[in-house]
Symmetry: D3
Subunit: 233 residues, 6 copies
């Protein structure tokens, strides 16, 4: 259930009945031939489809995240880590104040993961709160499905190429990108990284059949939903 | 043009040809009977409609803003001012790094206005940059249109009740809300403010005919577009 | 009553009897031909004259404020917004710790207004506190008096030219300054702003007869005093 | 020369001719029977008298400083250290931007001394700048004069009791305060400190003859002036 | 080569000849029956043994890191993430200023990993710098060796039990700890985590024969040294 | 007792029985011909020898401190003051959380002293805590011993030249360094300071007989130990 579809009276009633909510977080950054908004789009969409049948409120996706490694690619927006920690803490404060105690963060971007250290601090100061941080695309079942389809999969490759992230009129390379050297990639600044990355895909084909993508998506939605319904501390 | 509809190569080409872009900023906060996402929805929508015919890229709306006055209303998300300054500066840094030099910020929430002081600082350190900060609903022509329709207009009143911010199945009061005492409202904390505000509307009717709303919207879109095409320093 | 005229034992007795105090805040910045300290001088003076008959303590004026727009004018001192938020919060903490619960901030500089967003946050965390933020020169009655005298009035024009802000031996232009384009002014950095502003007056004559200034001042003092005696939440 | 007595054009001319200026910094805090504003008053006054004959501009005193040790005494205002570092850096930035390269900080409060570590950092980033930090009351010659008059001297004792810091109608103890245990004082929080400090005087008589005070003041003014005229790097 | 064994003249000569250095970073935190300083001890020791034959300077280990998850265990010291980012950036600034351009960070604590996002930002602003962040115990070859010895291995288990981290006179459990539920562990605050963790070992035996430990250590030293000699960007 | 020699269970038992602990803090910075780690080495060593017979836990030395004045000397590591305040506060928070209430900070570097202002703030917020900040080398008895041996003593002179800070194979000047002009030293940036300081010794001989050093050390250890056993508030 989109928070955009609720007013505050409805929210007040909802949180009294059920203390779960979802916060999707993404990034606006290079995704090779795909949409610059790939990560925010996928995080919000998987969250909405997962939470929908449960009537759990899904807050608007935080579109911007940690993308300092891609700042040499035009259109990438990167928050400083110190900023990001504050943003996520402030949002969690607001959700807690509203009354939520079980918060699922659906993350669409691997680069955002360091914020988990901030969440750990935040939990120490908020009695009764539980937060699950879910990297939807590399959660166990979803990642197993990715590997089953094609183990050559990565940032900006086929595994992020869904009907809702690909762009009309953009022709994709037909051959798989060979694997980036991750060790080299981490050593230098944004200009070095752009030089190493070329179009931005890390590894693998650029597109696979939609029937495979739909199957992958179904697993991801299911796995995300299960985090709302099972396994809370 | 949505940034979500572009990849980084397209962005690189675009910014070489035209150094204008738009950043909408909103808030998720109580809007009485209307959507909690009213401000982010309106800011992004007016930005997209204004920029669309010009092919100027519109970045994803920053959904969360400064709403400390409404934190006693469930569903309100408020960033601390210190956080918000950092977020907006970081985004501007990213737009500048991409190559944009004329940036229109379309703001959907009066409470965000203090960030203009940060933008003033930011401009001092970014050679050649120009930023226009546009409170779309109280820009001269739009506000004149509001007054022409009904001068009893405010936060969460009819003037924010568009087909895309009202909620299905919610019945609205038929009488106008009498004017809140703004001086009292500013003096105390969030709980005091909630007590003063009741349902959250500041002043005026809750709804007016859609034909009036469409006329108002048309003025707002036109006025916003004109800021992209005219009057840059 | 100046705080400088009290010791801590007197302050302790005073705050037990009356929980009101005043904090004037100003700016040191270009004021065309007038004193660089115009804003701090006027804020402190109006505060002292207003509070004097009531024996309400007036803390020393915070001389420095937000003046990033004027940093290309020599003698201007500007605090970063992030700094200013901390300063004002820390001072409020100290006043609250002393026991004050009704705090009137008398502001002498329009550029300081963004700090109201910080005060709103601060109020959320300080039970029982009330803060009124008073832009003395544009409060309703004072501004009405300005307009009555001469509607062409602005920063560094006649309306700030009092015997206690004008400088000996400085000859003033006799003609009114034509209106600055505020939209252009906001778009660029400090150097752009200096180029647009010339001598720094925004609009209007540089001086008017002292009899008018005294009348204006009397309204301002009266209006400021009324905020101490009436209308607290 | 008070900066309050100058406009920006005069400042621009002055700094071209002479790159020296003075910034007095004080504190508003308990001073036993003396004015809460003792430190700001003395710092600004000694600065003005020292700089006056040299026509060196003296900026308005920064009234508030580091006084966390006295927060249990009503009327004390204390900035957090992190805040204070920012304030002083921002002011130095502004003086440097105006063109000053030799800056004398006249400090009136021992508790402010930690800011010297920030000034050291600031100097590393500002080519050609020189800053002298002057604790006026314990500079070599002034302190020698204090000791000559009466070595039992300290915070809030006779040595700060000048005609411009004592309060009308306040009767002072006639006997000297015995020495506070500084080691104990440093160990605990503000409430512990208040318990140890009693009236707030650290050590010594509360008042001495004005002829002695005038002699002390003359030494202080002279020593401060010499820092403007001699010994710059 | 320990930096403690050098003076600044030797450092100046060294960095002119070779721009590589090592910074070990650790944590002081619960390690079940092992030393609270396990992570700092191992990080510094592996760094010194790896760099020794190459005469590459090893800076003193930064003992304290990110351990918010263990704050309910006495003796754990945890820096806030925002603090830690600043510390690591400041140290990197100092190493860069000295002239180092190839910096190997040898990390002894998984919880410190989020600082890599800060390092990525730091690299964007430091021309020519390369930083490698090395989690020594889970680097490919070392981890393979761990798995070869006993795949039930984790924080505070046998794999951190070296002669230089175990404590005299402490008797260890003989049976393996069963696996902690990592998903539950991440959801709550420090008290919840302590309740889940018991003695603090995550998984596996508490001790294994020293001949195995020595073999593991040899792999780790060798793998760490190779990062200094091979594979720089 | 080294904290490195304890596990968390032992720490839990210890703090229940005795609420005293020691935190040594140092600096890595130029010490002329002596070890770059002189300050951290001496602070930790004097702490360990003082606390040893009392079984009071000594946490690992914080090696890095405030050394902005020496950043032009290679090998110097300097934390920004704002960073350092956070680090020390975070460590104190951790010690307090563990249960310590009487904390002795043994400081090895004069430049770190500004952190005492932060400790004062920290004490205000931590009920029952006592912190003593001990500059071991200039505590009354130790400094008296220094002066007794040779009053020409300072940073990087003989008084820091112990068997555990001098370097093998480094030849020392035989003549005493003449006194640095401290007033000039403070005025400029790091490059100015390096030019004034030459080899980095501030004043005095570079070495004195070990029998004298041992006598000095014995006084320092004794005086440090007495702070643990006597004089707590």
């Amino acid at each position: 259930m989109r928070v955009a579809g609720m007013n505050w009276m409805q929210m007040e009633a909802r949180v009294r009945a059920d203390d779960r909510c979802v916060l999707p977080i993404g990034s606006v950054e290079q995704h090779a031939y795909l949409s610059l908004a790939t990560d925010m789009t996928l995080a919000e969409r998987v969250a909405l489809e997962a939470a929908g049948p449960l009537d759990v409120p899904v807050f608007p996706v935080l579109p911007y995240g940690l993308a300092s490694g891609f700042t040499a690619f035009p259109g990438t927006v990167s928050l400083r880590l110190s900023t990001y920690l504050s943003v996520v803490s402030d949002i969690l404060d607001s959700l807690y104040r509203t009354g939520f105690r079980r918060i699922l963060i659906v993350n669409g971007h691997g680069g955002n993961t360091p914020v988990t250290a901030q969440i750990s601090e935040w939990l120490n100061g908020h009695e009764g709160a539980r937060v699950r941080f879910h990297d939807w695309w590399r959660a166990p079942k979803t990642w197993a499905k990715v590997i089953e389809i094609d183990p050559a999969a990565s940032h900006a490759s086929w595994m992020e190429n869904f009907p809702w992230t690909r762009l009309e009129g953009v022709t994709l390379p037909e051959e798989a990108k060979s694997r980036i050297d991750f060790d080299l990639l981490a050593q230098g600044g944004a200009a070095d990284k752009r030089a190493l990355l070329g179009d931005g895909n890390y590894h693998g084909l650029y597109q696979r059949p939609d029937v495979e993508m739909e199957a992958l998506w179904a697993v991801a939605v299911e796995e995300t939903r299960a985090l709302l319904t099972h396994g809370w501390l």
